[in-house]
Symmetry: C2
Subunit: 399 residues, 2 copies
């Protein structure tokens, strides 16, 4: 619980629901007749509606990026370190929109939602969603909020893929793109890790081919395993080593399969905690969206050509110890953007935290975000304390 | 099937069984009243019994390191590329001994053996075995074969840990130590991966806390998962990428959970194949032996002090893309040996194959082994084509 809401917090925030009744054609060939997106907003949309920043979340993220839902909240949103008054994504200047993606399990329509055709949870029958579908659904949320063009769209990891796709398919709808710890497509190794995660879930007898809701159970063992594995790959070898080393539970080896080293306890806890907040079918979908993203597939592997339609300015950020999305992968994008003649800044940040570094307020990282967004602000002639036109999206909770 | 046995092969070989009736006190506090070890030998032990090389296997290895069991064999032993006439571990000069470790599932006493007290498979009740226990059991095999002092003891990965332990605890019983792709203790990340592997097995409902034999089943799903994960970590990012890239099963995405990318098929196959040849309880034991090994724990973390008793010459080998046992870990051993004033050679081999490189006949790697063993041969005044005293251990299959 925050005893006092910190001065640089966006404070107490409330999620809003946007309902869409226009059918959405998905990349997989299926159609969603209707759906809802849950989102939060921070800061104030200016009269020109030119100061909006869209936050795209990663694998297990959600719409709650900043602030607190109540005074009882133990933790703020997942990117509170970067979003708030005077923070790098400065809510004194920008109107920040953060949503839960389609297929999610935090309020947007997804496998745990009720399928109107059957009045049962969608479960395994929820259609496969892709980065393309997410961007399309996000444009509709922007339409609803009256945002024709974002000042910036920002995302890390899988979120950075959505940013790339926005820049290619909707070049007139963003002025700046911030792509953090991402890749133009995931590596074979990442597909392999995703497959192990999916198999962990599928092999849990409580998964019932995704229809566990009808059996009134959840595949907690499999989902927990998937998360344990994911967790290892989000951290660097060094950060895991520094955090736990060979720290033991007891003075001497116990020679059994209980907790011997503290890192085992940590992983079991992380896995278990995740199963209480996340849905297995959503996790499956998210890993597939990662696998499928490959914008250069349409241009015979030529990423520069794929990125050619983009007109925004880019900031790419990578972290030295990130081995799941290493700097070389960001540099592929940087090099393709240069080749395509785009405006691109690139910051490779010295960080010990691995892929997770993108969630930490590392000074050079925060300075890179701040500097790039300051320039965006100047470029767009955004004035400080613009007249409030719409506060925290109050007009647009369609429910 | 080898149409013709290659000229540089040790040819058709037969495993032998050594039975030990002297109780073995284990590190975990328990005692094995009796046990057997299965082993193979290649080449000829000289009259002085001074030309023996012991091979220590890694996590999922066994005693069948070289040659063929029959003309119907599709593949030779796991290290056939390095062991044979005129090969780096040259059976024209050396008498090679290769065993399956205690706790294994390929013929040595382990969880799948019958517990004489119960006349049932040991299963989960088989005692935890450690690198220390393995070395102790290997000394007894050496005694049985009349080998007072090995010309060299060689091992990769977990095998390299056994070599280190030999050099420390039985310095008079080896003249040379070859430690390949190993570490003085595994990293926190490796403990974490091992824990995920163990949890994969334990969470399989067919595991029955290790007593699956009594239920007439095997935890194939969990063991397969563990192997899939292991497999990813034994290969380098680059080698996986070069081998599979984003090679797809179909022309277009199928948007389902069947095989979409060939790497998924490969992993599923590798996992499945492993479950047909390996025992889950043995896999559990082996990962724990990896976790527990830490010779410097007894010297307050001072590895040089831990290695002080060693009198043999050392060769350390590492591979550039091995991220499970990276070069820095071998270099910790090299530096400690230098600090302790030992003879040590070190070869860091440029290789794209990751941890698995230690099984490949890479020219510089093979040259390093050959060069070091040539020098060992000269040092020990081993003559070529020494008079045969004992051929292929024929006297010593105690059964």
């Amino acid at each position: 619980m925050p005893d006092v809401i910190p001065a640089d917090s966006v404070g107490i925030v409330s999620p809003k629901i946007a309902q869409f009744d226009q059918a959405l054609q998905l990349a997989c060939g299926r159609t969603l007749a209707q759906y809802q997106l849950v989102y939060e907003t921070y800061g104030t949309l200016n009269a020109e509606k030119s100061n909006a920043i869209l936050i795209c979340h990663a694998l297990s993220g959600d719409h709650h990026a900043a602030g607190y839902h109540s005074m009882e909240d133990k933790k703020p949103g997942w990117w509170d370190s970067a979003i708030g008054p005077d923070k790098p994504i400065d809510t004194n200047h920008f109107f920040v929109v953060s949503l839960n993606n389609l297929g999610g399990c935090c309020g947007s329509t997804g496998p745990t939602s009720i399928n109107p055709d059957t009045q049962q949870q969608w479960g395994a029958d929820f259609p496969m969603v892709t980065v393309e579908d997410w961007v399309e659904s996000q444009t509709r949320l922007a339409d609803l909020l009256g945002i024709e063009c974002f000042a910036a769209i920002v995302g890390g990891s899988l979120g950075g893929m959505q940013v790339q796709h926005w820049s290619i398919t909707h070049p007139n709808r963003l002025k700046a793109a911030i792509v953090i710890a991402s890749a133009p497509k995931i590596s074979t190794q990442n597909i392999a890790f995703n497959e192990v995660a999916r198999q962990s879930i599928r092999r849990d007898p409580h998964f019932y081919d995704g229809d566990y809701a009808s059996q009134d159970t959840v595949p907690a063992n499999g989902l927990g395993l998937a998360r344990m594995l994911g967790h290892i790959t989000y951290l660097s070898t060094d950060s895991l080593g520094k955090k736990f080393g060979r720290k033991m539970r007891h003075d001497h080896y116990q020679y059994n399969y209980d907790i011997e080293f503290e890192v085992e306890s940590y992983l079991r806890y992380q896995g278990e905690a995740f199963t209480r907040r996340f849905d297995a079918n959503t996790y499956m979908l998210m890993t597939k969206a990662l696998d499928y993203f490959d914008p250069a597939a349409k241009t015979n592997g030529d990423l520069a050509k794929a990125l050619a339609p983009a007109t925004c300015e880019f900031l790419l950020v990578s972290f030295t110890t990130d081995w799941r999305f290493p700097p070389e992968r960001s540099e592929e994008i940087v090099n393709a953007l240069i080749k395509a003649g785009k405006h691109v800044s690139y910051a490779k940040i010295e960080a010990s935290e691995g892929h997770d570094a993108f969630l930490f307020p590392l000074p050079r990282y925060m300075a890179a975000l701040r500097g790039f967004l300051d320039r965006t602000k100047q470029r767009l002639n955004l004035l400080e304390n613009t007249t409030a036109h719409l506060t925290s999206g109050e007009k647009h909770h369609a429910r």
